[in-house]
């Protein structure tokens, strides 16, 4: 599914001073409205396409809508935003999704 940009009609700019402000604060639709929520994870879900039968239950149940379907018909997980709730791991009828603990080094880099 194509990635949409939701700020076509107005650019989101950071305001510099009170005179820039419109009368009312309005927010615009955007990915990552709380930042890169991928760093909330303790465990990362990993889809095993060998076992996947493309039932799309993971796509249906994912609360965050981070599961997209690629051109081969397999689900893929957007790890920038996946919060690691592991619903997909638990619900997959074929047990095709594994969970892996996020490595400490990935955080120590920051």
């Amino acid at each position: 599914m194509p990635e949409k940009k939701y700020w076509k009609w107005k650019e989101i700019e950071t305001h510099k001073c009170i005179d820039d402000l419109p009368p009312v604060p309005l927010s615009l639709p955007n990915y990552g409205s709380m930042g890169a929520t991928g760093d909330w994870r303790t465990f990362r879900p990993i889809i095993n396409t060998d076992k996947c039968n493309q039932c799309y239950f993971c796509w249906m149940y994912c609360p965050e809508a981070v599961i997209d379907i690629d051109s081969d018909g397999y689900p893929t997980i957007d790890l920038d935003y996946c919060k690691g709730c592991l619903i997909c791991v638990h619900e997959c009828p074929k047990k095709a999704i594994d969970q892996m603990r996020e490595k400490k080094e990935q955080y120590e880099e920051e």
Binding site: Y56, W59, A65, G84, I87
Partner: protein
Amino acid sequence: MANLKDLVKDPVAGEEYFLKGNSSCAGCGGEVAFRWIMKALGKRTIVVAPASCFNVTIGLYPKAGPTIPYLNMAFAAGAAACSGIVAGVAARKKLDPSLEDIKVLCFAGDGGTADIGIQGLSGAAERETDFIYICYDNEAYMNTGTQRSGGTPYGAWTTTTPTGKRQHKKNIPMIMAAHGIPYVATASSGFPLDLYKKVLKAKDIKGTKYIHVLAPCAPGWRFPTELSIEVGRKAVQTGMWILYEIENGKMALTGPSKYLIKKESRKPIEEYLNLQGRFKNVTSEDIKTLQDWIDQQWHDLKNWMTSQSS
């Protein structure tokens, strides 16, 4: 039967209306509900969200998760603000007929529906306001940290009922059915496609439509996030939550609830209660009280259905 492979490619249902990376909790049952509700309603929807979790799950200014006009609103004002929006759109429609397909949705929590918002909801229903009101029920005031509400079940732990709530859950769907509105339904986050179908049906009905969705809450109900969907499913399978719809006074059970009229076909309610930390300290008397209450709910529904066929 909705086919997931078709839905993925559907121009309306295949799109996401609550963008990823928002501030909802991991595994939020309410977010599953909202996602599927919006897949049914589509782009031409205006959403009003009175005070609830869904005021803070939308992310931080200047970014927001929803891709449709989304209005946070004061706590008691959800349904009345929807009445106003419907009237405003009607006034604009006179000059611009292309607004004919605009739908108005009020997405409120159980506190904003059963407690502080019930006056506005009752008034809007009585006025036959043409909107959809969906209550996502996480069975407590979750946004402020799990305080008990009218929707909290008997025996549940909350911060204001630490030894367990001693009153039963308020039956809002039946209250709304008593208003005589054209469509009342219950749904669960554990069965998103059932919810999707109900919202699709409600979309085309004129008048006030009410849908009550059970939305399991991992931090508030105290269970691991991966069990969110399973808790919503077990609630229905044990008979604790009944899926039905009432169209113009005619009731029908939907989904798995269709096969659970006989008590023996339902799983024991311990299977549902044991998954959640908030029921950790229920005694066997509490379980019996809950079981009796649920049996009474089924009994009343059975009576409704038998009397309507005669």
